[in-house]
Symmetry: C2
Amino acid sequence: MAIPFSRIVENLPESTPFVGPETLERQSGKAFLARIGANESAFGLSPLAASAMREAVAESHYYADPESYELRQALAEKHRVNIDEICVDAGIDSLLGLTVRMLLEPNQNVVTSHGAYPTLNYHVAGFGANLVTVPYKNYHEDPDALIKAATDHNAKLVYLSNPDNPMGTWHGAAKITQMISNIPNNCVFALDEAYIEFAEEAIAPPIDTSNPQVIRYRTFSKAYGMAGQRIGYVIAHQDLITGFNKIRNHFGINRVAQQGALASLKDDAFLTTVRTAAIAARERVTQFANTHGLTALPSSTNFVAVDLGSTEVAKQTIAELNQRQIFMRMPGVEPLNRFIRIGLGTDQEHEEFTTAFNSLMNKRKRT
Amino acid sequence: MAIPFSRIVENLPESTPFVGPETLERQSGKAFLARIGANESAFGLSPLAASAMREAVAESHYYADPESYELRQALAEKHRVNIDEICVDAGIDSLLGLTVRMLLEPNQNVVTSHGAYPTLNYHVAGFGANLVTVPYKNYHEDPDALIKAATDHNAKLVYLSNPDNPMGTWHGAAKITQMISNIPNNCVFALDEAYIEFAEEAIAPPIDTSNPQVIRYRTFSKAYGMAGQRIGYVIAHQDLITGFNKIRNHFGINRVAQQGALASLKDDAFLTTVRTAAIAARERVTQFANTHGLTALPSSTNFVAVDLGSTEVAKQTIAELNQRQIFMRMPGVEPLNRFIRIGLGTDQEHEEFTTAFNSLMNKRKRT
């Protein structure tokens, strides 16, 4: 018997947004020396959070509070919004899936940038919606083009990540505020701010939960160093939060992650340390790229995109770095795929990466 | 502007499958003395798992392996199936949601028992499918009636939990095997075995992944004591697993939970202890009920359903126990809601529960 899949799932490809580093390690039989390809934070997590989580392990037999009440209370205070304007869930990936499901009928349109975060695209396909893309402009997402496409295509959802992944570039608060003011009717703007804490300047526009057309996505995965804990949240108009609450897995949060997130919020000193370290590490990577005559894009994230001149060279470099046990990724589509994305690593990882990179550049010079 | 929700989400009620104990504690301003209402395991988790998880906290900044390869390998060995016949995800709740999404078009039918696990119903509504229910028969789910309804209503999905929640009753392997042999064409059987490790006898039918009409649901939430870690899995025909892989959140698993689950599987001694303790605790609750002249249903789970004679008395008893800081729940619908569901607690919790229960029974005698 053929499985009686729904039409949407029957027609989906067997694709995954990303291949994990563990899969590559199993294929090569060798462990990576540097894990700088998945935008994980080399700066680890807050000692307060780590301690709270180790303690919370003993309560693993209890479900988490499905309302994440204490965490939402702390987040509401931090962002100066109402507790009912926050929804906590198992990371931004999950929240993007809920967003698509909540807004889109099959065949309705979602607008994003060509080459932007693939997991959004995965969910758009997964719910049978249609993806409309606009090109990056000078390696930045293009707010004006996104808004125009959303208007032209009667999109229900338009997505932008600020700072951007995979390029690391960003727009200032004024530009994003202008974008918000131009969202077409009947459309919601998903503003993914996963990397916002890594930005040197204040680039987040003011949070305005009176606007029912904007959802802000935040996470503990990046600057807070808790990617493996799967916890993130959205800030939005209460009516949008009601939508999330209608469909989310109410008992889907990890109890230990909840405690870790709460403790993280109390450790401003740690976050400051991470920001400072990230700025220094970006500078280190940029200078290293320059020593090879390569251009690095300015970045507000925990990675730096470096121009290798051609797609062919970029792809080959990633393959060779993987072979040298350096886990790295690169943008997937033209014209972004002339770049490689160098994640900020620990000192040890940076050393391993630069050694491997120097070695393969020397080899290229010789041949 | 009204939020441009999809039609399905627009029409959904603002309902949640369960209210968490933390919510009740916030409402009353008092902490529960016994937490025996959510079928959490009072027997905690394996010391090996706890230790592995405390250690894994330091790696929280890494995403989990999206393939859960090592865990699936261990599970494949345990269940003697192929690794591609297992999908690990963030608990059975999430897997049930994926199942509904993967199989059902809006308005197609799902068959379950009236009063069975509400989270399935939540997902059925959440994806716009239609729920058909059949009554319990002598406080057991009724396999014959479920199959008949699935056939009559051309259902794409039929659900049964063995052992059952909320009644704790069960069917032997032969009856479930018979049910499997009668699944109508174009229908998949979701066999939820969340509580299977608590059963005294071997009631799970043999696992046959050559049958593309059966999905077996297992979890680390119950006997393994890891509810707060959100990790479970399905065992099924490879084509069904492909369906899950097309739509699941590939990076949705908690890295620490993954390590804990893996360590749990290596601790058979712990599981044996839990089973023994559960059997003794069921006996203790049953005897306690009998001292009050009340009938307890035989149970294969970590809770015991006790007949209070009427819905009114059952509801009042739960309310009064809650007031006395005992967290307990009861079945939600006729005729099951004549029962209260007494979770197996620690010695301390059992003491708190029996004290509170004795006290309210004495009060009733006096008035």
